[in-house]
Amino acid sequence: MCLAIPGKLLKIFDENGLKMGTVDVNGSQTKACLEYVPDIVIGQYTIIHAGFALKIIDEAEAAESLKLWQELFESGAFEPDGGQPSPEVL
């Protein structure tokens, strides 16, 4: 139900009385309605669903959880064998 992709806001403009933005997703750009994220500024990341920005991505929160997992990884919880993680398939 929920294909929502993160993208970076490049531009803000008005269209038919709605606050709209141009959002970059890895070099492709889409138009998105920004009415639900009125505080968003250019350069911030947001998730886009059905042509609407639904939430400004909390960069601090993202960095925090990635840091936790990274620490877990570095603590030796998993030893990489230099290649892909070894498969455990049926």
Binding site: M1, C2, F78, P80
Partner: protein
């Protein structure tokens, strides 16, 4: 891609998997609510990588799958009208009605167009004043803000040749139904991350407490899913029936208040039919009286809808997590993506289609 690649890191994924294995001391049954999560789990083979003691059950969070057959048939009847331009998300085009789908209607001359956003449909209405433009407003709470804005904007601009066929459903009521069922074996839930981005997770705290189950708002990328599963396992192992948010970069407890306000303004909660499940009280949205003129169901008073499901289709049981797709007698035989008997085999995130396309274990 920022905020995607980090969450597809195989080494982080492996670390989380090992933690899950370390922390799991017994059998647990966990359900991921959202069809998008099902799609990601099966596509990335997450269920293959989890320890055998973790059983993942796929939930009903596929709005395409749960749109009632009558709604599909009504959509097909409206789309066939000469004066109508029928617009829809791509997902709905292959969903079978009683006798045909939107592709067939298009091949018979119906003007059926795929849009990416309901605002695209509104633009089509602006550009085609002599036509009636109808948008098939299907979705869970994630899509409600988009659908609400399209209607609100149409009213603001006075665009009268636009209407929406609403099939909006809500997650908490179907969770409540499943949890109340004597057949329920699910012990913990991965809540739908993007539904929670809109609605927050306050409502789930009541459910967690009432039914004594942990509920973890979770994202969609492999690392997000594994983090959600790990958190759920930790809560289960510790006997904690709580809501803990594992998709913090997008989900907050209260959700998006502006979106919730507009949804409340445009829609009201109503009883809704769920395909394969039946009527769930207060489980969907319908347009408020103030916006009734944008309701395609009222505008095109289509009668003589005679909907008939295949007697072989067990998608309702699949949606509620009590039947695995490959346990259905019709799976991969009478029912395939080319000849789907029900919506769970059509939708790209339907559990049956996910199994068929990615994961026919018996053949691997």
């Amino acid at each position: 891609m920022k905020y995607i690649d980090e969450y597809r890191d195989p080494y982080l994924a492996r670390t989380l998997l090992d933690e899950i294995k370390r922390k799991t001391s017994r059998q647990w049954t966990i359900m991921e609510i959202c069809g998008g999560q099902t799609h990601s789990i099966v596509r990335n083979g997450i269920d293959q990588l989890l320890p055998d003691s973790i059983k993942l059950v796929h939930g009903p969070g596929c709005p395409v799958c749960v749109t009632p057959l009558e709604s599909i048939d009504r959509a097909l009847a409206i789309a066939a009208k000469k004066e109508v331009i029928f617009t829809s998300f791509g997902d709905m085009l292959r969903v079978p009605g009683s006798r045909r789908d939107l592709f067939v209607v298009r091949s018979e001359g119906g003007d059926v167009r795929i849009v990416f956003s309901p605002l695209d449909a509104l633009q089509i209405a602006r550009c085609n004043p002599q036509k009636e433009v109808v948008f098939f407003a299907v979705g869970f709470e994630t899509t409600a803000p988009a659908n609400a804005m399209a209607v609100y904007q149409a009213a603001r601009e006075g665009i009268e040749n636009f209407s929406v066929l609403v099939s909006q459903v809500m997650v908490p009521p179907v969770m409540r139904l499943m949890l109340s069922s004597p057949e329920n074996s699910v012990q913990g839930f991965l809540a739908a991350g993007h539904v929670c981005a809109v609605m927050g997770y306050e409502e789930y705290e009541l459910l967690a407490c009432e039914f004594q189950v942990p509920i973890v708002p979770t994202g969609f990328e492999p690392v997000d899913l594994l983090a959600g599963i790990l958190q759920t396992v930790e809560l289960l192992e510790e006997g904690r029936a709580e809501v803990v948010n594992r998709y913090g970069r997008v989900v907050s407890r209260k959700g998006n208040l502006i979106a919730k306000t507009l949804i409340e303004k445009v829609f009201e909660v109503t009883d809704r039919q769920w395909r394969g499940i039946g009527c769930i009280p207060q489980s969907g949205f319908t347009l408020r009286e103030a916006f009734a003129r944008y309701d395609a169901e009222k505008k095109f008073n289509v009668t003589h809808i005679c909907s008939k499901e295949s007697p072989l289709c067990l998608s309702g049981r699949v949606l509620q997590g009590v039947l695995k797709p490959d346990s259905c007698p019709a799976f991969a035989k009478e029912c395939t993506p080319e000849h789907p008997l029900g919506a769970t085999m059509v939708s790209s995130e339907g559990a049956c289609a996910a199994y068929y396309n990615y994961h026919r274990n018996v053949m691997l």
